[in-house]
């Protein structure tokens, strides 16, 4: 661990986060921190001063641990440090960075991150709680945002703590924070399925079942207002927003389904996107640049994942037909970095989560334990939330696709499924 940590903190650094600090460093001398993605540098979080300091420290520690890029050193924090930091002491604890935080009387979380090897302050930031009550959802989200910035300061990659997961439990919609806390029902009234996030994180779209069929509803999760998007009647399912939020694509039809595009907030008639000739097409997901759509289609006689231009032209098979008795590939989700598409695949008697590289079409199996399905990428393009029966009942789990580490996100009675990971929540 020590050698890994030492390797992580080389003296050569071109990382962007030291650019500001370099103003005070004589030209020609390079001092700083180099993060090696294959290592998990140790981070020590000191005791947090101010109201609810213990909770803040616990949330920070959990967030950094769940980020899978840093190792949180578990040691007694003692009292909040005062005066100069004893870097040598923290170096003995294998810490590469120290997180020093306090809740200020002005209602914000003040965070400083120290570079142990450089014996200096790496970065400082304040995260406002605003009017949020202690322990409330907005208060927790402010702490999550601090965690994400700490991760960015140390690794150059922003964390995913300030995100949420929208999912279905017993035909009802729920939202849970990325750490599994703050479970909140989304009051949609009636049966809801296949939820999706608007890129702003303010709206969600989902399938609502009604007497005259299924409809797509877009709901403002702050005001609670919802509206049905224009459809062609019959069955309308699996909505997905374009990355700029201006288009909603969903599957519609009775005898065979196709994808249709519509403005989520307008009233124009839906525009046809796919031509399946009576075969089912569903589960669209946009590439991050919005130019392409991956979707499931049965045009080969069994479900496979295809890619098409967003205007409906140039549809081509993405997942190769495998030599298995019951080939089945569905539920694609395009990674936010555009490189991979995660999907569900039938492997033997079970369903498993796989990912395929869009460029070279190399497939990687991500799960193998029990039945796993319905993957959804986190904004860091590294973590995936999916449904699994590995704990006995269907629950949501989070997988780090780089290390293979998993954690259970949801618990409790009922079947949890169809998870959709939110974009980063920029507002409290």
């Amino acid at each position: 661990m020590i050698s890994r940590a030492v390797r992580a903190f080389g003296v050569l650094c071109l990382c962007p986060f030291v650019a500001v600090a370099q103003d005070t460093i004589p030209q020609g001398v390079r001092v700083g921190l180099t993060y090696d993605p294959s290592s998990r540098p140790g981070v020590f979080i000191t005791a947090v001063g101010g109201p609810a300091g213990d909770s803040v420290r616990a949330i920070l520690a959990r967030d950094l641990d769940f980020g899978d890029r840093l190792t949180v050193i578990s040691a007694e924090a003692g009292p909040p440090p005062t005066g100069a930091i004893n870097y040598a002491l923290y170096a003995k604890l294998t810490a590469s960075a120290i997180v020093q935080a306090s809740v200020t009387p002005q209602g914000s979380l003040h965070v400083a991150v120290h570079d142990v090897a450089g014996k200096r302050v790496l970065n400082v930031g304040d995260f406002a709680f605003g009017t949020a009550a202690t322990y409330s959802s907005a208060w927790r989200m402010a702490v999550h945002r601090a965690s994400d910035e700490v991760e960015r300061w140390v690794t150059s990659t922003r964390g995913i703590a300030a995100t949420r997961v929208l999912y279905v439990r017993d035909q009802r919609l729920y939202i849970v924070d990325s750490d599994g806390a703050n479970l909140t029902p989304v009051g949609v009234g009636g049966t809801a399925l296949s939820p999706a996030w608007h890129p702003t994180g303010r709206y969600v779209a989902y399938t609502q079942m009604a007497d005259d069929g299924t409809h797509i509803v877009v709901r403002d999760i702050i005001s609670g207002q919802g509206r049905r998007v224009p459809d062609l009647g019959g069955s309308n399912v699996t909505p997905a927003f374009s990355p700029d939020g201006s288009t909603l694509v969903y599957s519609a039809g009775d005898d065979g389904t196709d994808l249709y595009a519509v403005s989520p907030f307008g009233s124009e008639a839906p525009r046809r996107v796919t031509v399946g000739h009576g075969s089912p097409s569903s589960s669209p997901t946009f590439s991050p640049d919005g130019r392409k759509i991956a979707f499931t289609s049965g045009r080969l006689g069994h479900p496979e994942v295809y890619i098409t231009d967003a205007d409906g032209t140039n549809a081509e098979l993405l997942t190769e037909k495998a030599a298995v008795e019951q080939p089945y590939r569905t539920d694609p989700d395009w990674s936010p970095d555009g490189r991979n598409v995660a999907f569900t695949s039938q492997e033997g008697p079970n369903l498993q989560v796989m990912m395929i590289n869009v460029r070279d079409r190399k497939v990687r199996q991500l799960t193998g334990d029990a039945r796993n399905e319905n993957p959804s990428w986190a904004p860091d393009a590294r973590h995936i939330v999916f449904t699994s029966t590995r704990s006995g009942a269907k629950q949501l789990w989070v997988l780090d696709t780089e290390s293979g580490r998993t954690r259970q996100l949801t618990r409790g009675a009922g079947v949890a499924r169809q998870a959709a990971w939110s974009p980063r929540m920029e507002q409290p």
Partner: protein
């Protein structure tokens, strides 16, 4: 009055004096009538039987007709199912054909790459330090059309639209009669579109439809042009191009999309 009563009395008295012979005649008449009635009753019974038989026969015919109707419906259903199955199989075959062609193209690209690999130098001659690599020699064979297509597509997937365009342009310049020429032209347009250069993309899409009207990408190119015009608010021109797709390439996938667009634009 007395004159009228007298003949009536005579007539009434005459009736009372009917002979035995008259009674016998009357009895015979009654018997004849009874026999006739019996015959009529028998005839009615026969008719009833016949009616019953006819009814049963009609019921049997109705059953047969019903059975025939069910059989016909089943047959129609089977035919529809078969037609649907055939159309699905045709669709699958089309998809698989497209997939196979892509795989064949990839294999051809690999073969070209292998053919272009430099021949290993004789082991008896040691390599000269600082000498240029064999692949960098001026006489190194140029990449084939499938290799260039593969390179261009890969560059485009990486977002390197200029490099992609260069590869497709090389293909067009070096192999103008290749089967891939229309594809290269099309992907040059896509590379322009990817770089956000809409006017150039439009003109090259137009070139695809003009130079290669029978190419698979020709309806795609026209459809893309029509969409760009629609987005730009030039509805009339867009409608003309959508109609062109429908008229010239009625069996293409883009024709279905164009038909839907024309309906919306009305």
């Amino acid at each position: 009055m007395r004159l009228l009563i007298a003949p009536a009395v005579i007539l009434a008295a005459g009736a009372c004096f009917a002979t035995r012979n008259d009674v016998r005649t009357l009895q015979a008449d009654i018997a004849v009538l009874q026999a006739s009635a019996a015959r009529a009753a028998h005839a009615d019974t026969l008719q009833a039987v016949q009616l019953r038989q006819i009814t049963q026969a009609l019921a049997a015919v109705a059953d047969s007709l019903r059975q025939a109707s069910v059989t016909l419906q089943r047959f129609q259903g089977d035919v529809q199912m078969s037609m649907h199955s055939v159309s699905q199989q045709l669709l699958s075959i089309q998809e698989l054909t497209g997939q196979s062609r892509k795989q064949v193209d990839a294999l051809r690209a690999q073969l070209e790459a292998r053919a272009n690999e430099p021949v290993a130098a004789p082991t008896t001659v040691p390599p000269v330090a600082g000498a240029p690599a064999a692949s960098a020699t001026p006489g190194a064979p140029a990449p084939g059309p499938y290799q260039l297509m593969e390179m261009g597509r890969q560059q485009l997937a990486r977002g390197a639209s200029s490099a992609a365009r260069a590869a497709f342009s090389d293909l067009l310049t070096q192999y103008p009669t290749s089967d891939l020429a229309s594809e290269a032209q099309y992907w040059i347009a896509e590379a322009y579109a990817s770089a956000g250069n809409a006017p150039e993309a439009d003109s090259v899409f137009a070139l695809v439809a003009e130079k290669y009207p029978t190419a698979e990408r020709a309806p795609v190119a026209i459809y893309k042009r029509a969409l760009a015009l629609k987005v730009a608010g030039q509805t009339r021109q867009a409608r003309l191009l959508f109609q062109q797709v429908l008229d010239k390439y009625p069996k293409s996938q883009e024709a279905t999309l164009a038909a839907a667009m024309l309906r919306d634009l009305k």
